[in-house]
């Protein structure tokens, strides 16, 4: 799917994109990365516990071939 572009095409495209980049500085992110990692893993565990609490009938198959 990816295509090689000429240097000129690439430069024009990327400069075009850069022209539209942020007008507002990103908000400060005070929390330490390691804390957020622990929070995210805890969220995975909490979701797991909440899923486990729900009794699922044995015959309920996963919605794999998903059709509404």
């Amino acid at each position: 799917m990816k295509t090689p572009l000429s240097r000129r095409q690439w430069t024009a495209a990327v400069l075009g994109a850069a022209a539209a980049y942020p007008q507002t500085p990103p908000a400060a992110q005070p929390a330490a990365a390691e804390d957020l990692g622990a929070v995210a893993r805890q969220q995975v565990r909490r979701n797991s516990e909440l899923l486990a609490k729900h009794a699922i009938p044995m015959a309920t198959e996963p919605a794999f071939v998903f059709r509404p």
């Binding site: 799917m1 957020l36 909490r46």
Partner: protein, 477 residues
Amino acid sequence: MANVDHEVFWLGIRELNAKLKSREFSAVELTRAACDRLEKLGPRYNALALPLREAALRKARGVDEDLRRERFRGPLQGVPYGAKDLLSVAGHPTTWGARPYAGQVFDIDATVVSKLDKAGAILVGKLAMVELAGGGGYRFPAASLTGPGLNPWNRGFWSGGSSSGSGSAVAAGLVTYALGSETSGSILTPSAFCGVTGLRPTYGLVSRHGAMALAWTMDKIGPMCRSADDCGLVLQAIAGKDGNDPGSAGKSFYYAPQFVRKFAELRIGFAPADFDERPAEAARPILRQALAVIRSLGMKTVDAELPDLPYGPVTGTIISAEGSAVFAALIESGKVDQLADQRQIAGLKAGLEISARDYLNAMRIRRLVQQAFAGMLVDIDVLIAPTRTGTASRIQDPLDGSRGGPAGTPPGARGLRDLIQAGNLAGLPALSLPCGFLDGLPLGISLVGRPFSENTLLAIGKEFQNRTDWHRRRPPA
């Protein structure tokens, strides 16, 4: 240029197309004016990811030639639009709103872009988005390569996500309509926060080929417009079978709101708690008034309540597991650390730790959600609830309430709380309509229906907008 009055940027698709056909101005003149406006004002809202002036003008010249020869291709012909930057446009950067992909270029057009091109629509720019559509769960509106999406009604507030630029650009009259995408709320939320009309189609109705994948079993692409009528016109153009999308439902969509059942025969389900308890107190009368307008259309209203299922954990587990699998190479290469939002980075990494059992159980409970809706929507044709219980948050405020939600159940009746997550899990269509303002910021209500019932939702939305003018309001210049 002299012929193009700025009023045209607030016109609907049909009106704009009629002016082009009557030669009030040419497609080139309109496109040039639209590009000027988008390039000048888009950055004001951090809404513009990539201007596409040259390609748009080239397309417009072809449209003018077609119009001159009376080769009419439908109402979208010559009308400018923008596409969320997760849709590929051949030969131009597609950044997915994320720094690690800033130089990414594909050699294909996304199917939806290609379909709109065939309809004569003119793509004037790619619109900003939350990085990777927020797949890891982000903490700040600034989680984007283009900075936080700023709300045209008040730039101190967020435009919503993840289709931030699509919401802002339509609300500010920078494009006539835009394409957004929704995995769990990314069309409905910015539509409500920006005061535009957003349609989340039934899963599989619109091809995702050429779009960034976040969660294969949940991603949808849909229109964000100023009116329900415009959403119908755009949906007709972009819907349809696509062999390149394994999730394609193989169905077409013909916009025909005039042929839906009479409103008097429809039953609309709502929960009083959604209007009387959960919203901010000042928002309640506005939302109740919107419900009163819907009731005045003659539909029978009945009480409705979602069954007690863990919608948050199911949604969070599925999106995290699928999203982290999609971006496993990014995560494992370490380039994920280039993302703007630390929580997003942590969330993507943690998603790789989700067990097969949890993913499977989430998908099994998802089956129960589908079954619950199937049962509920036998007796009820459409569900209605506030899209969000309040207005947009301040731009610097953290978006706490992490994916998966709090462990405890909030007080009060369940009602249709979690309708965004539940409706997305079941793949149901939804339409968010602007319904008023609180402190100068828009509020929205949502209609949710059976699979492939878009015409019913659009018919109700169209009549609602015949009786109200919220969708015609313009943000301060």
